[in-house]
């Protein structure tokens, strides 16, 4: 109950401040929290990233596995995205299989990457109809201070960008040896907004998430295409608000993309 009372007070603060045009942590409405990325932090992962977005922390690892292709795409590899909301990350997260929040998170991150055709699945075919690479993206929330969506999307893209494809010998993976880097055709990123008493906020922190009347995420690419969208939580958006979010997403994701490239030592 104490926890609830504290949050009720914080929600009041969030709304009071917003009425004066201010956010609880002093940011502008369209400002991201500081972003810190540590690319390739894991030795055993084929690609990895540790992302801090304000106090929100997410780690992501990419692993390549061998598997059979789906019958309807015999010459294509596959993608599998999973998200775990670890009890480490929040007093309200529980041990056990992914719940609906984790499922939604994983599927929205998955759609952004898949639909952008960021990965050329044909290049992940080893033997048509028999053997293909499966790209496993596993996301773990380490600290939930709001907007796990964008933190996870940033972590997944960074991990893919530094992922190396294992070497194969006689159809088996050779440990710790790699045949080359995974090449990405597009760099899709999610940008998430919260609506609170008719204000639209970029990158909601936890107090803002608890106050929100609706969440809207849009995945965009560097060539200004939309590749996925998701409206979530209780609340309704006007068309004009959605259009503004899309324009902001194009602009804000460009800056994030730059930070990601710096983290992997590009440009």
């Amino acid at each position: 109950m104490n926890e609830k009372v504290i949050w009720d007070l914080r929600i009041e603060q969030v709304i009071e401040k917003l009425k004066k045009g201010k956010r609880i942590d002093g940011r502008k409405l369209d400002e991201y929290r500081p972003l810190e990325i540590k690319a390739a932090f894991s030795q055993n992962a084929d690609g990895s990233a540790w992302v801090k977005l304000g106090a929100t922390e997410v780690v992501c690892g990419v692993k390549f596995g061998l598997g059979e292709p789906y019958p309807d795409s015999p010459d294509e590899g596959a993608l599998s995205v999973n998200a775990e909301l670890l009890p480490i990350a929040s007093p309200v997260f529980e041990v056990g299989p992914p719940n609906e929040d984790a499922t939604e998170l994983a599927r929205v991150v998955d759609r952004g990457i898949r639909e952008a055709k960021a990965i050329d699945f044909k290049k992940l075919c080893i033997e048509e109809g028999e053997k293909v690479w499966i790209v496993f993206i596993d996301i773990y929330a380490i600290n939930d201070d709001g907007n796990l969506f964008d933190a996870s999307s940033i972590a997944a893209l960074t991990a893919l960008l530094n992922a190396r494809i294992p070497k194969l010998e006689d159809g088996e993976i050779v440990k710790k040896e790699y045949s080359g880097k995974l090449k990405l055709g597009k760099l899709p990123l999610l940008t998430t907004f919260a609506k609170i008493s008719n204000f639209i906020l970029l990158d909601p922190c936890l107090a803002e998430e608890k106050s929100k009347e609706g969440r809207f995420s849009v995945a965009t690419t560097e060539d200004k295409k939309i590749t996925a969208m998701q409206k979530g939580e209780v609340g309704a958006f006007k068309l004009k608000e959605l259009e503004n979010c899309i324009d902001l997403a194009f602009e804000k994701s460009a800056a994030v993309r730059k930070t990601i490239k710096e983290s992997i030592g590009e440009d």
Binding site: G214, T227, A236, E243
Partner: protein, 236 residues
């Protein structure tokens, strides 16, 4: 706005919906119900509540819980579906429940739950929007106070054309984009919006405008179904 004149695989125009039939109050044990056919899609929905939320610890003293369960029958798809709910069904249940909750006056019914059960009996693309459209009618049939109905449709692109109400064949097109959307038809506010596929903002805006128009047609059918239900009830 230019709507393409090109005919689609099933002969429809770009902005033409498949045939939709809605019947409210079809189940006598449920508090509210609806059966809907939308092209090949067949959906049955039952609503219970507001009723006491159990176990007690899930109760919210400030509002009713909205528990939306979307499931597909094993035989409703070309290959038999595993009866265990998949990730897709779990996600759809979550976002569609949230979409409906946006329209329900949940604060009037503390400590209760409103249970909405949806079963897809036959399918050919657009089942989540068909289910949402039917669920809104079932909620109204149960007499649950709402700000507005919720009307849903999917829009998108296939074979270079921006279209409403995609079929499976169209969803499988090389350039397909699918945008399931739901609005409250009187305020025009969006309560569900998802998308997958690559699109420019201009194409998206065109698709959304066609979807808004289609939702008004669907809203009319929903109201007719409810009207018919109440006229019949009056005679009883």
């Amino acid at each position: 706005m230019l709507v393409s004149k090109a005919k689609r695989p099933d002969g429809r125009k770009a902005d033409e919906l498949r045939e939709i039939k809605i019947e409210a109050g079809v189940l006598n044990r449920a508090d509210g119900s609806c059966y809907l056919e939308w092209g090949q899609n067949k959906v049955v929905v039952a609503v219970y509540g507001p009723r006491e939320a159990l176990p007690k610890h899930i109760q919210n003293p400030n509002k009713a819980l909205v528990n939306y369960i979307y499931r597909m029958a094993t035989f409703s798809v070309p290959e038999r579906k595993n009866p265990k709910p998949g990730r897709r069904e779990i996600e759809i249940s979550k976002v569609c429940g949230e979409a409906l909750e946006s329209a329900i006056f949940v604060e009037r019914f503390p400590n209760t739950t409103i249970d909405i059960f949806v079963e897809i009996l036959d399918s050919n693309a657009g089942t989540r929007v068909a289910a949402l459209t039917a669920a809104a009618v079932a909620l109204a049939d149960a007499g649950i106070p709402m700000r507005d109905l919720v009307s849903a449709v999917s829009v998108g692109r296939a074979n270079g054309e921006i279209i409403v109400d995609l079929t499976k064949e169209e969803e499988d097109a090389e350039d397909a984009v699918d945008i399931p959307m739901a609005i409250m038809p009187n305020t025009q506010e969006f309560v569900l919006l998802q998308m997958d596929g690559i699109m420019s903002k201009e194409e998206w805006s065109k698709a959304i405008a066609m979807g808004q128009k289609a939702c008004q047609q669907i809203y009319k059918l929903q109201r007719e179904a409810l009207r018919k239900r109440y006229l019949a009830a009056e005679k009883e």
